[in-house]
Assembly symmetry: C2
Homo-oligomer: 126 residues x 2
């Protein structure tokens, strides 16, 4: 169901290091894959942001423990205040400890700059 | 069909920088996912190694162009000399320019140290 879209590593000193320090992988469901092509995401599109620590040693960087799992879901009826996107994140491997407060407005504040791509940062590589 | 198993970045100065400099993602088909659990890979198991350049700037590392796609396939009848594994790789985005010479013996020379895991390096994280 989940297709790996891209990966990125945030190092110390980056503006987003809190909380995004480490390596993250972005996965898309089928509807979100369509959205990545057209820059229009239909209701039901889901993007998952899987963030792990990145440990560097001996000239290599490997993945460590999970930092958080973030999700953005398109549902234009449910999330009209944030252009149809709902945001949630869970700490580490927890499936209950939620990190997003205030309905995702803080997430969307940053995503808003991506209006031309329907508020999504990731672009799929071939 | 393909499940993302893990990712790793090889930096300059690493013993495997030629040809593995950059970030690689490992993907498994269903049979290979079973093998990753049991350390026994059935015939038909396929692992894909997707290697991209890694570009670092502004305290972040992003993926660049594709360096190569490597594949290992388990077929114990076809590849008895390399403990049942066949190896191939294609340069960049090419689907015709093959990189592995000599039937994968050079690949298997390194993989041989992983005998206890049926010659596979990757271990799946949860």
């Amino acid at each position: 169901m989940w297709t790996h879209v891209k990966s990125m590593t945030i190092h110390e000193g980056h503006g987003l290091e809190n909380p995004f320090l480490g390596i993250h992988h972005v996965y898309a469901n089928r509807l979100a894959l369509e959205g990545l092509k057209s820059n229009r995401f239909g209701n039901g599109s889901i993007l998952v942001f899987d963030q792990l620590t990145s440990k560097s040693a001996d000239k290599a960087s490997v993945e460590g423990e999970r930092v958080l799992i973030g999700v953005m879901v398109k549902d234009s009826l449910r999330f009209p205040e944030t252009n149809g996107w709902g945001y949630e994140a869970w700490a580490g491997d927890s499936r209950t400890e939620r990190l997003v407060k205030g309905g995702g407005a803080s997430c969307h504040g940053c995503h808003a700059q991506q209006r031309d791509r329907d508020y999504v940062f990731s672009q799929r590589r071939e």
